[in-house]
Amino acid sequence: MATIAAVIASTHHPFYYRASTSTGADRPPFADEWVAKIERFRETLTKAEPDVLVMVGSDHFHQLWLDNMPQFLIGKAPCYDGNFYNEEREFGLPRMFLRGHEELSAYLLRAGIDSGFDLAFSNELRIDHSITCPLITLRPQADLPIVPIYTNIFAPPLPQPWRFVELGKTIRRLVEAWPSDQRVAIIGTGHLSLELGGPRQFGPHGPDPEFDRKAVEWISSADLDGALAEVSLDSLWLPGNATHGFMDFMLMMGVAGASVQADYVDSLDLFHTMEAYFTWYPKGKSR
């Protein structure tokens, strides 16, 4: 059976690439600390020695549109191009190219549907910064095949938070049962409190530091009971109008397993948003 080499949950800040590559007067004052934290976080994936990456993210109205909007979708393609014109324009993100892992995609689709998730699929998926940003931070050489999984945290009506948790638990169970000798890292990115296109955007901190503090606690201890008791589709509007991306963290808590303490926890209080980084090693820290 396959081995889950690491479970990683992270924010995906589209400004990291530009901040980390800028020099001189263009380099923001927080860039050096941010890069140092990312390099330590990257090491947690490197030492897990993965063969394939399952990448959980959310399309930001790039390929998926309101005329035909899936709730949960798995890419099944031999290759994936990455990033879009408007991400180059706003964030300076580079075009990227990733190999896919069709065998694992096909397995997760079949077994996921048979487990009660009527998953959508795509044979030609262009991935956006929710998946390319964690590649830039965690695996910048982009040399491993990926299985992209998209969730709808963006276009109401959304699935309920518990459904994200259940999908995470299902992904964990299915990958562990995959008849393969491959080492799989499952990486998912979301948001803590976040405001986009509203009155609380781009402040000196995230829009709700108290939510962020609680969220880091919930995630680092995979406190699913605590998170599910306080988080609902209605409540997630309160910390910021883009905070439904926290449900991708809840999915990853489901992957990590209820009440399993993360082996690595870090965060960085930036303007506009709190960055947060978590790694679990289900099989211990070394091979």
Binding site: F61, L66, N86, P156, L196, F202, W237
Partner: protein, 120 residues
């Protein structure tokens, strides 16, 4: 209310660099052209199979034609689409990084949750 069509306008303009410039320099003309020629095209099927029923209300058309992002927020446009396109339109006119984004937020400061419903 045709929130879906407002979002479709923002989405289809935002993904096309030529249309971003056209909407910046001639908002009223671009909105008129788009509503006549593009509003009813279903994005994933041939143009000849277009829809027959999508139009803006007068208030929606006027908000788009005047780049009035406060009014568009109040009409229930998707917050991400609205912010992304308006950054592309106007960020360049400000000297300080994020100055436009902060002005955008300040001009909405009379709002607190619940915000206008973005459901389509």
């Amino acid at each position: 209310m045709s929130k879906y069509l407002l979002d479709k306008f923002l989405y289809t303009i935002d993904r096309d660099p030529e249309l971003v410039e056209r909407y910046r320099s001639d908002p009223r003309g671009t909105v008129s052209w788009w509503e006549a020629e593009r509003a009813n095209i279903v994005l994933n099927i041939p143009e000849m199979e277009r829809s027959t029923w999508l139009t803006f209300t007068d208030a929606e058309r006027e908000a788009l034609a005047t780049h009035d992002y406060v009014r568009l927020f109040e009409l229930g446009c998707h917050n991400f689409l609205l912010l992304t396109l308006f950054i592309a339109l106007f960020e360049r006119d400000y000297d300080e990084p994020l100055a436009f984004q902060r002005e955008f937020g300040a001009r909405l400061s009379h709002w607190s949750v619940p915000y206008p419903d973005i459901s389509t």
